[in-house]
Amino acid sequence: MRLVKRSPWLMGLGVLLAGLVTAPGARGDVTSDESGTLIIFPKVVSDGVRDTLIQLSNRTNSFVQVHCFYINASGTCSSTGEQSCEIDTDCPANEVCIRQCNATNFELALTAQQPVQWRVSTGRLTTIPSAPCRPGQPCQCTLDTSGQLVCPGMLIGYNNASFVPPVGSQFVGELKCYQTNAGDPYPGNALKGTATIEHLGSAQISEYNALTVAANADPQNNLITDKELRLNWTGLGGGELNYCPESLVFTANAEGVTDAFTGATISTELTLVPCSELIEEDLPAPVRVRFVGYNELEQQVSIEAFRFDCFLNRRLADLPVSGGGIFVSGNGDLWKIRISPLPVNVCYSGSNRGASCTQDSDCGDNVLTGPADTRLGCLPASGVLGVAEEFYTVPGMPSFLDGTAAFNLRHEGSRSGFGDIVTLP
């Protein structure tokens, strides 16, 4: 009998190739078409005019635990507290826009390959047992006396407890979820999702894919089970989760341009959220970005050093200031816009929070420290992620009949160095 020789070379190769097959794509990308450990829905709307349907799926054959938080980014002016706003220029002179950026936490459990859905305004209840739909009968959710949805499906949790809490009808913000194991972050890369924003009057829908951030599953360098998620992985070697992109790019019609086929006026709403989040500290992450636009005539205009905290949701007609958009018809019919975080350091906490800095001492007093002792002082301004939504308005028709279409932005490059940080409660 011939002895089968085992080759140590091949064994070593085999071990690592096995890791390759199961490891996520070694690239360092935030994507909208693959699964990940951290999943971000940048635009969640429940404002009494529109509502959002979230679909979240487990794409693996294993049971998955998920921790989520809604971030409500509704803002009010500092003195005229009743006036809602998004950035400072929405407020009267000498006032600033204060965004609460409050987080509401909840937890989910998904079985193998399980998809779930819920309506954000009402949330959804766990019901055990739950009757499935039957042919010939309407397959629908019903509203419980608590105002939450009861839907057919197997949801892990306590009977009649909230599977997902409701956010009500005064919510504009984002949803972020990450995979856990016994409460700690876990690099399972199992989550994928979509969001459908629907108008309550016209049923016009827009749908986009959630953004996913893959985690480093290498046991040597994997997601450290502390309460800080570090987005500092290139896809190879050490690091926890993929870096955010170096820039975002998208093509949009100029504001106010008339569409040749429909005669409608087209407007684009851009939603940006920071890659960094200070959930534990309940502080918004400071963002500094640059917009550079090229029209079809290759002409360029740009907005330098645009600032916002926590969440931005603006029509192009209002960038950089309300009513003072530069990516408008009259300056071109089509714009390709690149959004790049500025390579500057800003204070994440302290008495000078939001100010530019070169060292922690520039941030004043009360500089905070994260749950894993990362000093939250002078750090690189946060990366950004986002989606966009088009609105087609037919002249003379009310805005609730606008046609809408959401789309994901393109990513270029990857950030480097410190990357981004999400502190968890």
Partner: protein
């Protein structure tokens, strides 16, 4: 005697040395308004319900010139300046102009005699309604890198759309001192000229009567003069939009040589109302020198700057029925301060 003579000569020699030193200091060049340069700074650009601004830029050279321009504004009162930028191309000796409320498109079909007639320099976005800020233009090469050819000159006309009244001033032009310039732009007399260290303006204190209007028969003696001062920092981080701030000290002399002094904070862009008028109430942020402080109708203010600043003053002369005439003037400069402008 001989020792005394020697000491006397020594004194003259020392004086000559000091005078020479002063002379060499006087040779230190700083930004001016009367010759072309590589950086143009227009401290006051406005677009309100009533007023608009026309910007004129001219290429004084015999070859094509690229220009990178930045509108700066500080709309929220925090002193933080954001920028919207665009690019121009000027052919040899080409003057160009645009109205900031409309901007300018590239449209080769503009008819002769229309606003857009002539070679369009590039796409210029309009500023939003209510805009108050500045414009900075930098000479660059075709790739956007700074270039020190010293061929740009500029003027601004601020116009009242309802009355047709106009004010006009020259842009500050900062000349390149070296053929080798790069980003950031160092205004240190080595790469580019320095910015002024002091600014001087003559003005009529708030509430002064206009002697000309009075002479023409303003029987109710209600004529009024007010002055607005606008300052733009020479330290501009156009990439990061970092706030620039400090404190400006001033000393004012009236016609009796009586001094009044004080200070006020400045930011990236600052506008100070040296008085209130019916046409400008609410437009400006602070008031200096309330009426009655200065006993004469004419005064001189010297501003000592902690950092390089350029500025322009605009005076408003109002008669008894509220008709307003305005006039802008460049400020006299003195001293020198180094500064830095960082392009994106």
């Amino acid at each position: 005697m001989r020792a005394l003579y020697r000491s006397w000569l020594l004194g003259i020699g020392m004086l000559c040395v000091f005078a020479g030193a002063a002379g060499s200091q006087a040779q230190q060049t700083r930004a001016g308004t009367d010759r072309p340069g590589s950086i143009l700074m227009f401290p006051k650009v406005v677009r309100t319900a009533q007023r608009d601004t026309i910007v004129q830029i001219t290429n004084t050279g015999n070859s094509i010139n690229w220009v990178h321009c930045f509108y700066l504004s500080a709309p929220d009162g925090s002193g933080y300046c954001g920028a919207v930028d665009f690019e121009l191309v000027l052919t040899r000796q080409q003057p160009t102009q645009w109205r900031v409320s409309q901007g300018r498109r590239v449209d080769p079909t503009d008819s002769f005699g229309s606003d857009g007639a002539g070679f369009d320099p590039g796409l210029i976005p309009p500023v939003p309604p209510g805009f108050q800020g500045a414009l900075v233009c930098v000479e660059v090469d075709a790739n956007g890198a700074p270039l020190g050819q010293n061929r740009l000159k500029g003027e601004v006309t601020i116009m009242d759309d309802s009355t047709g009244d106009v004010s006009k001033y020259n842009a500050f032009a900062v000349a390149a001192r070296s053929s080798s310039v790069d980003n950031p732009l160092d205004l240190n007399d080595s790469e580019y000229e320095t910015c002024p260290g002091s600014l001087t303006l003559n003005f009529s204190p708030r509430g002064s009567l206009d002697p000309v209007i009075e002479d023409l028969g303003n029987a109710n003696l209600d004529s009024f003069i007010a002055t607005n001062l606008t300052l733009l920092s020479c330290n501009l981080d156009l990439a990061a939009g970092v706030r620039s701030k400090g404190t400006v000290s001033y000393i004012v002399y009236d016609e009796f040589e009586s001094p009044f002094s004080g200070s006020f904070p400045h930011q990236c862009w600052t506008t100070i109302d040296l008085g209130n008028t019916g046409g400008t109430t609410g437009q400006f942020r602070s008031t200096l020198l309330p009426g009655g402080t200065i006993a004469t109708i004419f005064a001189q203010a010297k501003l000592t700057l902690p950092t390089g600043l350029v500025g322009v003053a605009e005076s408003f002369h109002i008669d008894q029925v509220g008709v307003t005439g305005s006039a802008a003037s460049n400020l006299h400069t003195g001293g020198a301060k180094s500064a830095r402008i960082r392009l994106p």
